[in-house]
Amino acid sequence: MDLERLEPAGPWTWRVRRESGAARAEAILYGDGGLLRTMDNKVLEQLTNVARLPGLVGPALAMPDAHWGYGFPIGGVAAFDPERGGIISAGGVGFDISCGIRCLRTNLASEQIAPLAPKLADGLYRDIPAGVGVEGDLRLSAGELDAVLLGGARWAVQRGFGKDSELEYVEEHGRIAGARPENVSALAKKRQRGEMGTLGSGNHYLEVQVVERIHNGAAAEAYGLRTGQIIVSIHCGSRGLGHQIGTEFLITLAKAAGRLGIDLPDRELACAPVRSPEGEQYIGAMNAAINCALANRQILAHLTRRTFAHFFPGARLETLFDVSHNTCKPERHETNGKSRLLWVHRKGATRALAPGHPGLPQRYRDAGQPVVIGGSMGTGSYVLAGMDSSEARAWGSASHGAGRAMSRHQALKQWQGRQLVDALRERGILVRTRSMRGVAEEAPGAYKDVDRVAEATEGAGLASRVAFLRPLVCVKG
């Protein structure tokens, strides 16, 4: 990225310089010069496009892991006021609606896992449906699928996938209100028939990790984390149903925007006012997809527990937290001393509630919301905690991952999947996959330095580091 187009606006904070006469709101990027230089100039272009959308409140924001996406940059956050014509954008949510991470803490230590790690890796690879074209065992009737879309993770718990008590640690307590299954097309529902309880492919994964470092003892204690402890992270979303909703509404909203006279600087920003028939229809379908994703991760957590129980009969896998990072939600935020209901888009960004927020479970009330920055399979991930300043800085949002530093195309030219798997094995990281191409595309070197992203996330006042997780086993789609 060309830093000449930015001006410093505080610690770890950069403002996009306005061209004279440009009619748009502010655009802010968080990070340091090193991270920003690795970003494509398209991130700037996309962010300034977002800043031109109707009803935007405050600046358009890019998290430290931002990279060139479609419509919004990945790592983009923007809030819109429906009272001022604020919009909802399908491109601002993405195709993998409510893609997110379920993080499970265990009562196991790394030395217990080590002797059985290869067998555990094989077991997880066998039991967790992963990869393009791979379906799960669960087959749902049309009525049952509608119940999933209304009930989310709560539906899954009622079906025996996990316990009621863990729903407190899932965003929205496992179920978002306002889902309208009738707004979801028949094809979207058909696509989901065999895909409940599946991981998918691309950057989706299931990782067994060990807590290698604690950065914040008090928050780690609240989260139940200690050095040497085994953690499981599951990264996936709403699968075919969400993808189909995204593709259908992208076209619907692109046409609606034209009809409603919304000047789209990029057609991918397809949107409609929150308070319009098209906007309301998308919101109902998007919420159904959010519930689908919450249920999917709940089922996968259950399948993971079953596999662990086979190898470690006394193992307990408890939900640390479940966060989504492709959503748009109505939230109350304070602006100019007034509480307003805003629709906050987080495209590849995680909610990060500050300590004391009433939406947090009692156990985490003093520490803040757990935030997970998922890194590459060769480096590691961070657990962080929402900070007091995250509300004012980014509507209570933070980074969601390391962020790509290189395209898949470039990664394929540079690495071979088999060689990467062998090299990672030498470093004690066991990869199980159906796609060597996928491994090459997801090569650790194709991602930004996760340490710098986490440091910048903390430096920018978005979320503070609590623990670093090193991967031991990675199941890739």
Binding site: G69, G91, F95, D96, G133, Q244, H409, L412, M436, R437
Partner: protein, 149 residues
């Protein structure tokens, strides 16, 4: 290993497919003597991301159709119709045919159901409107967009 990321070397007709740079996802390019042929090539590019077409057999056929006046929007409509049909039937696709009657587009595709021993590529979630362009190029047509993976 799925299909290499480079311009295809098909000799059966002018055109072919290629990829262009995009940070998070995959930029696809389809070229052909007509819009329909360019769209067919774009579909080859998109589906070669999910499985090596050289490893696939043509045991089943799927049909799709849609109505679209906007030439540019017709490209994601075509690709998304194929992606939806392939996912609904659990298939990997390798060959495509598209025709048009006014604003009604009618397509067919051939491939086979996923087999357990198939080497998998990366799932294409859908075609986006990013970098979307359908234009005349060098006496033929070129269609491009970014697909989300």
């Amino acid at each position: 290993m799925a299909a290499p990321v480079k311009t295809s070397q098909r000799e059966d007709r002018a055109g072919g497919f290629a990829y262009f740079h995009h940070d998070a996802d995959v930029g696809i390019i389809g070229r052909g003597a007509t819009v329909e042929r360019a769209f067919e090539s774009a579909a080859e590019a998109a589906f070669a991301v999910t499985a090596d077409p050289r490893s696939l057999r043509e045991t089943q056929e799927v049909s799709v159709s849609f109505v679209e006046d906007d030439l540019e929007l017709a490209l994601p409509q075509w690709l998304n119709a194929l992606i939806g049909a392939a996912r609904e039937r659990g298939m990997a696709l390798r060959r495509f045919a598209l025709s048009r009657e006014g604003s009604r587009w009618i397509g067919r595709a051939w491939g086979e159901p996923w087999r357990a021993d198939m080497e998998r590529g990366t799932e294409v979630k859908g075609a986006t409107l990013t970098m979307l362009s359908v234009r005349r190029s060098g006496g033929g047509w070129e269609a491009r967009c970014v697909v989300d993976v």
